[in-house]
């Protein structure tokens, strides 16, 4: 992405569950100022929120990068967690590897990745077991 795009980087703290979702709130604030429609803002913030939660639950945190262009918003989520063994399986609604203590908080319903796909125009997952995961999502405006 060239100079045209607006770039943000948010660290997602894996130690602190309550901080998950902060990047998404910040992003909403930024997108409102750039003047995107409420629908676009909603889609981007839901996709990002699900990504943040995933990084906290599975990967001890990570980094969210946000690239804003006139007609396109790109989100890159990078973590150094355990990686995803079977991506097709992980994409299935209701499939989750979240531990019980996380489920007891109401998370781990197996809707994170499917929701991220649903709310974005494209989503790519690169993952290596033992090394980490990188997810690139785009929302076209």
């Amino acid at each position: 992405m060239g100079n045209e795009s607006l770039y943000y980087r948010f660290d997602v703290d894996g130690e602190n569950f309550t901080s998950a979702g902060e990047a998404s709130v910040q992003t909403k604030r930024i997108l409102r100022r750039v003047g995107f429609s409420p629908d676009i803002i909603k889609r981007v913030s839901i996709a990002m929120y699900e990504g943040e939660i995933n990084m906290v639950i599975h990967a001890c945190g990570g980094v969210v990068e946000l690239f804003i262009e006139e007609d396109k918003i790109k989100i890159i989520l990078t973590d150094h967690g355990p990686g995803i063994e079977n991506i097709d399986l992980a994409m299935q609604e209701g499939y989750s590897t979240a531990p019980d203590n996380i489920r007891s908080l109401g998370f781990g319903a197996g809707m994170g990745l499917p929701n991220m796909k649903r709310y974005t125009d494209s989503m790519e997952i690169e993952s290596k077991v033992g090394e980490g995961t990188k997810i690139t999502m785009t929302v076209n405006v």
Partner: protein, 430 residues
């Protein structure tokens, strides 16, 4: 005509301090030329600045009790909060008697309309074509906040007029029935309000058509006169027609718990309300059916014009309603059997999203400005001291980029410049 706000500033009294600046939940205030300036496009009439101002420079534009037209048929519409303001009050009838003694021709308790709204809301929640969670539209601050900042949730607002508006309608109908000679213009409905947001509601006709409420007076304005008018030895006439439900509305959770639906959330205090809306917007909530949001801490009893401490008022209301029937108000025979009467429906479809935070209509330009804001922000001290007149360093960076402030307004930037100049002078001198 633009939106009429209910919060105004007394420039003489304003010292230009930063109390309101720092606490305004929508960052609508700036200090310019030594006093506060409220951005009308962003203000949601929450009244926090009135509450906080140590110099009493923020005023709310209530109607004065003394300006009530003497020749009209005057109907008091007391907010249920009013009944929680008096020590040792065990019977709402004393308050009603007092209002009549003050010169009102009739009293119509807003709590009665609240009980109807509860019933209509139950009916509304039974529908299977509504966006969930349904968000209460009773607090006008919340309605304005949602339409300004959470536009994707506008459809979640319950499309029923707030109790005050319905009470105005019903009070007028009652008056015309009892006194057929009265015409609409002969009647003056006076809402006794715990908060200034209701003033903006009535003045801006947010109900869609013309508001059924003619005047909105402040609860604190009525309080002392009413207190004197209530000092009667004899027992009052039995007039109150409010049940437990109506008198539970003023405290946070009262409206929601009356719905007989366990899947509800009730939040109060404007900062908490915003946090809940942020979560609902990204669909991060446990299967909720109903969300009650009150801008004031504690609910309407926490209104900035209430006299009594909201938590004490809450206990008092609980004592008053203890032996009341659950509800005394039911939809009339003229109303549809299981729907919301059309005249009490709230139409929010005209509410246009105003893009109040947008930098520029041209998105490319807005992105460029955002880049400038970030670059400038990175050089600021992040003290959020407010000395520049903007609430935070980030808001200041925005104000500078948008041309509403000068970089030299920042005292830290100025100090740095001063030190550099001094250094230069020192070098020149040696």
């Amino acid at each position: 005509m633009g939106y009429q706000h209910s919060v105004t500033l007394d420039v003489e009294k304003c010292k230009g301090c930063t109390h309101c600046l720092n606490r305004c939940p929508t960052e609508a205030i700036r200090i310019r030329d030594g006093h506060a300036v409220i951005n009308a496009n962003r203000c949601i009439d929450c009244g926090e600045c009135i509450r906080l101002c140590p110099h009493k420079a923020k005023r709310s534009s209530f109607d004065k009790l003394s300006s009530m037209p003497k020749d009209k048929y005057k109907i008091a519409l007391p907010a249920p909060t009013l009944f929680g303001q008096f020590t040792n009050l065990d019977d709402p009838d004393y308050v009603i008697d007092g209002l009549l003694n003050m010169g009102f021709d009739d009293v119509y308790e807003v709590a009665r309309a609240a009980e109807l709204v509860t019933e209509y809301t139950r009916r509304y929640l039974k529908r299977d074509d509504i966006p969930l969670p349904a968000i209460s539209s009773a607090c006008p601050v919340v309605v304005r906040l949602v339409s300004l900042r959470f536009p994707t949730l506008v459809d979640n607002l319950v499309p029923i007029l707030p109790p005050m508006e319905i009470a105005g309608h019903l009070a007028r109908e009652k008056a015309k029935k009892e006194h057929p000679e009265l015409k609409d213009e002969d009647i003056c409905t006076v809402f006794i309000s715990p908060c200034p947001a209701k003033v903006s509601y009535a003045k801006n006709n947010l109900c869609g058509g013309k508001s059924s409420v003619d005047m909105v007076v402040s609860l604190s304005d009525v309080y002392f006169e009413l207190l004197n008018a209530m000092k009667k030895a004899e027992a009052p006439k039995n007039q109150s027609q409010t049940g437990m439900v109506g008198l539970s509305w003023p405290s946070s959770g009262g409206e929601a718990s009356s719905l007989m639906n366990d899947h509800y959330l009730a939040a109060d205090g404007i900062e908490n309300v915003i946090r809940v809306l942020e979560d609902i917007e990204i669909e991060n909530h446990p299967n909720l059916t109903f969300v009650e949001l009150n801008a004031c801490a504690g609910g309407c009893v926490g209104g900035v014009m209430a006299v009594e401490n909201p938590y004490i008022a809450r206990v008092r209301l609980r004592n008053i309603r203890r032996y009341l029937p659950v509800t005394l108000n039911h939809p009339g025979p003229e109303d549809p059997a299981d729907d919301i009467p059309g005249r009490f429906a709230l139409d929010l479809s005209d509410d246009e999203y105003g893009h109040v935070s947008r930098y520029d209509e041209n998105r490319k330009e807005a992105i460029k400005m955002m880049q400038d804001v970030e670059r400038l922000f990175a050089t600021l001290p992040e003290l959020d001291c407010g000395s520049c007149g903007s609430p935070t360093c980030r808001a200041f960076a925005e104000d500078v980029v948008r041309g509403h402030a000068k970089l030299e307004d920042c005292i830290c930037v100025m100090r740095q410049k001063l030190q550099e100049t001094q250094k230069e002078n020192h070098h020149d001198g040696s």
